[in-house]
């Protein structure tokens, strides 16, 4: 019989309470420990280790999102919950009828068509990846698939956005205990590849960025979309329903992973964190998926009354959350184990992968057990939901923990934090006006952030399930796609468009960074023909207990609010990963660049109308939509000259929305042959990518580009102003296109040629850039070729 330890907290003073929090790796603050002490004083007994761990898991930053739900003092104002006051508020205000479940379940759910819905979720798995990139990134992917399965949907695609330190970082300068970015990238990509490919889910969209700020804290955002019949969505566990644990066995994997995610990494993390590492087993998860879909579809109504993923916080979070308004009794000795020797608290909070929890009405148990047996997938009844609002945990019949659900879920004292941040205005660089910018263009194309990610994309299967319409690489020249388009149903042309926006380089101005990310995600989506767009937010930030980090976060959240309302695109789900900091041996602490990933999902009524980014035919016109402004702060052009600049691109959502709506009309009428958004590297990079992707030449006149206060070639070429899209229009459709675009800022700036030369004429009509497209493509493809990594 495993021992259950009683932890003496009743008479502990403040110092002792904190010692207990540290000793048992609870990551609880003094205030929280005091709330627990008060609760058990009322109960007139000490807590067991099981109880204390349950509370610590439920109250962790990772599960409860203390910072986003807490009270923040900011510029003399009090914000009562960032999530409720901004992000969820925008969604509420927009009140879209096609939103089915937002911010409440494992994933955000929106309508796809009359019968079907889609679920979208993006997760972060940063800390585990820093320790073991293969296992960490793989289980991140596996975890997000389970989030989708946890609402009863079938995953149909996977997205991955990764950030690492520079690949050429000198080995001898690496801080102790930190893996080289190359090793992290190879491991993470392999982990994602092996999980997605083996489960038969296409990885179709993503991004990879490099910056010294991510050296010690790599970022992994794993996302997934699933589809399901709307009426099969059910989350209604009832008292008397059995708790069924399905899938993998339970081991010590990821013990304290959640509380670990709420801590900063230090050079000692390598030694202490052994338990937090997890290795995935996609084959087991595939069995769970197949059985689950059968259980959902075998009869008119699903055989389960609720299903959820067993992710961060393990059984403790899954059952605690599902039985929140009921009560539950669980026999921990019934949980199938990988090996003997686990203490009851370890079983309860273990984060072993590939496990899910179902609530089963007793009358359906036989049927459901048969389904899981047929799929060769383990399924065990471990308890029952009750109606006494208590969580009772037993081991071999003995009660080892008893907590009131109300205290567990509502007893946490709200954290109070102070946010304070002031913008540092970096000086605008003084750059000489050159005549020729061909070299600058090539250097930007060769920046690892801009360069082709073919090496990664080719490892991911983006075709499996056979419904990928627009793929990550477009045209015979294999240019970078703006978004991916999927046709999920056999008997319908309706499609899903998925894109993302992320630009940590703009973090010098977090408010505009958020707006830019939203605009980028939406315009990428629009480029392929997506509309009726919903957004997801994923914040990876530094330690929110530090005022400046939190101040930046508040500005970014405000940007999200204004962006969502301005574009009329509701947020449907999100996740935050805070504490992405690294403390060196000398005690200095470094935060990652604040990184906000916006993921967008849109609908296209007919995938046959979807547009890719490669130019199609010589003689077609090239149009630009949107204005080019003097806002090169954080741009790749300034980076080339070692400068940040003061002003990052801004967004006018209303103007942009009108232009996007017009463009969508033009796409629907078939007037558009290719579309590409101007982002990293601006107009010059976008035009070059379109040309070499289509393996055709292009001529562009800068004097025709609509600008505001710009008289320099370099700035027009490389400004990263938002809301700009390049469009290829056939001559024969020119008049129709103009008619539709009327009222928006747009201009004809060039033409597709068959010469295979890429020429941009400057304001004085002399070529400012001139090169063969092959040479530009080579500059873009070379840096991340597999043999150069």
């Amino acid at each position: 019989m495993m021992k259950v330890e009683e932890i003496k907290i009743l008479d502990a003073n403040d110092k002792e309470l904190m010692e207990i929090s540290q000793k048992y790796m609870l990551s609880l603050s003094l205030e929280e420990m005091k709330a627990i002490q008060a609760y058990f004083k009322k109960k007139k007994r000490n807590p067991t280790d099981v109880e204390l761990n349950t509370i610590a898991q439920t109250w962790s930053e990772h599960c409860f999102h203390k910072t986003f739900k807490g009270i923040i003092f900011f510029n003399g104002k009090v914000i009562n919950g960032l999530l409720r006051s901004y992000i969820m508020k925008a969604t509420k205000k927009l009140n879209k009828s096609w939103c089915i479940s937002v911010f409440s379940d494992n994933a955000g759910i929106i309508k796809f068509d009359k019968k079907y819905s889609i679920a979208f979720k993006v997760e972060t798995h940063n800390h585990p990846t820093a320790l073991d990139p293969y296992g960490g990134a793989g289980t991140g992917t596996g975890g997000v698939f389970r989030d989708i399965m946890g609402v009863g949907a079938k995953p149909i695609l996977s997205t991955d956005v990764l950030f690492f330190g520079p690949l050429d970082y000198p080995y001898e300068k690496l801080p102790k205990g930190v893996m080289h970015p190359k090793r992290l990238m190879k491991g993470a990509v392999a982990g994602i590849r092996d999980y997605g490919n083996k489960m038969g889910i296409p990885t179709v969209n993503g991004a990879i960025g490099f910056d010294e700020g991510y050296l010690c804290n790599p970022l992994v955002y794993a996302g997934s979309i699933g589809i399901m019949p709307t009426k099969k969505y059910i989350k209604n566990p009832k008292p008397g329903d059995l708790i069924l644990l399905v899938g993998g066995k339970t081991g010590r994997d990821g013990i304290h992973g959640v509380t670990f995610a709420s801590l900063e990494l230090t050079s000692e993390s390598e030694q202490i964190a052994i338990g937090a590492v997890q290795i995935g087993n996609p084959i087991v998860e595939k069995k769970v998926l197949d059985a689950l879909i059968k259980a959902r579809d075998k009869e008119k109504k699903p055989l389960y009354s609720a299903v959820t993923d067993c992710g961060g916080g393990g059984l403790s979070s899954a059952i605690g959350e599902m039985g929140k308004n009921l009560g539950a009794i669980v026999d921990l000795d019934k949980v199938p184990l990988k090996y003997a020797g686990l203490a009851p608290w370890e079983i309860w909070i273990s984060e072993s992968q590939e496990r899910m929890v179902l609530a089963i009405p007793k009358k359906n148990l036989k049927k459901i057990m048969k389904i899981f047996n047929d799929e060769d997938c383990e399924a065990t009844v471990i308890g029952e939901f009750t109606n006494n609002h208590k969580l009772i945990l037993r081991f071999n019949g003995e009660i080892v923990g008893e907590l009131d659900m109300n205290f567990l879920h509502n007893g946490i004292p709200k954290v109070k934090r102070i946010a304070k941040w002031e913008k540092t205005v970096y000086p605008e660089p003084k750059l000489e006006e050159k005549k020729d910018f061909t070299d600058d263009l090539k250097k930007i194309l060769s920046d690892p952030n801009v360069a082709s990610k073919e090496w990664v994309i080719r490892q991911y299967d983006h075709e499996v399930q056979a419904h990928t319409i627009i793929k990550p690489l477009c045209g015979i020249g294999e240019g970078p796609s703006d978004a991916c388009v999927l046709k999920p149903l056999e008997n319908s042309w309706r499609g899903i468009v998925v894109s993302n926006g992320v630009n940590p380089r703009y973090s010098i101005d977090p408010y505009n960074m958020a707006l830019s990310a939203i605009d980028e995600a939406i315009r990428n989506n629009v480029c392929c023909g997506g509309r009726r767009i919903a957004l997801l937010d994923n914040f990876s930030w530094g330690n929110p207990e530090k005022e400046d980090r939190l101040g930046q976060l508040v500005y970014a959240v405000k940007g999200c609010y204004d962006g969502a309302l301005g574009f009329e695109t509701p947020f449907i789900s999100g996740k935050d990963s805070l504490y992405n900091e690294y403390t060196t041996e000398s005690g200095e602490s470094f935060s990652i660049p604040p990184t906000l990933l916006i993921s967008a999902v849109g609908i296209i009524p007919d995938v046959r109308k979807a547009v890719s980014m490669d130019v199609k035919e010589p003689g077609n016109y090239i149009y630009i939509i949107g204005e080019t402004k003097d806002e090169l702060g954080g741009s790749y052009y300034y980076k080339l000259y070692g400068s940040k600049g003061g002003f990052v691109p801004t967004v006018n959502p209303k103007k942009a929305r009108n232009a996007y709506n017009s463009l969508i009309k033009a796409i629907d009428k078939g007037l558009v042959k290719a579309c590409h958004d101007c982002s990293e590297g601006g107009l010059a990079v976008a035009a070059a990518e379109m040309a070499f992707a289509g393996d055709l030449g292009m001529e562009i006149q800068l004097k025709n580009v609509p600008v505001i206060n710009l008289t320099r070639n370099d700035k027009i070429l490389f400004s990263e102003s938002n809301s700009r899209i390049l469009v290829e229009v056939p001559k024969s459709k020119d008049d129709d296109f103009k008619k539709i675009m009327k009222g928006n800022v747009y201009a004809k700036i060039g033409e597709v040629t068959k010469t295979k030369s890429f020429v941009i004429y400057g304001l004085n009509d002399h070529p400012a850039i001139e090169d063969k497209i092959d040479s530009l493509r080579e500059a873009w493809k070379k840096p991340l070729r597999w043999w150069s990594i």
């Binding site: 073991d132 080995y171 190359k182 190879k186 052994i274 997890q278 087993n281 990988k338």
Partner: protein, 156 residues
């Protein structure tokens, strides 16, 4: 008993992992490395006869067109190399490949396998010190958080 199965490639060009690792090790600054080969390695425990283990190898673990395999008693696989590094999972770390191998062995009709472990054997050639190999292990071949590793000098 425990059978140790080492699977090697008949030709260097079939060993992409080895090639990638070679690049990584040269990047680390160990320019003396001449070559590195990777050998998927399986530890299979149970009452299994020689005939049975050969069947397991031929039908399950080895692609005989591009691969050879060696069982415990033979050790000529390390001929011509300077260092052997053996890497496998620490106790308690999930080993999904091992689970698949065990299930696979049962599908070919052999039922007395008690336990399977998987790992890698690496063969290194070049003028490297034990300390060099130790660093190579930590930075490239094994992740000490989840792996055990063992370094053995090949006696010529």
């Amino acid at each position: 008993m425990i059978w140790v199965v080492r699977v090697g490639y008949k030709n260097e060009k079939f060993d992409p992992l080895g090639r990638i690792l070679k690049g990584d090790i040269l990047d680390l600054g160990f320019l003396n490395l001449k070559s590195i080969s990777s050998m998927p390695t399986y530890w299979i425990e149970g009452e299994i006869s020689k005939i049975e283990i050969e069947k397991i190898c031929k039908e399950l673990l080895v692609d005989e067109i591009i691969q050879n395999y060696w069982l415990n008693e033979k050790n000529d696989w390390s001929l011509g190399f300077d260092w052997i590094v053996e890497v496998n999972f620490k106790l308690g770390v999930t080993d999904p490949v091992a689970e698949s191998v065990k299930a696979g062995i049962e599908t070919i009709g052999i039922f007395n396998v008690k336990n399977v472990k998987t790992g890698m054997t690496y063969l290194l050639k070049g003028n490297l010190s034990k300390n060099d190999v130790e660093i190579i292990c930590k930075k490239c071949l094994a992740n000490p958080i989840i792996h055990n590793y063992k370094i053995v000098k090949v006696l010529q």
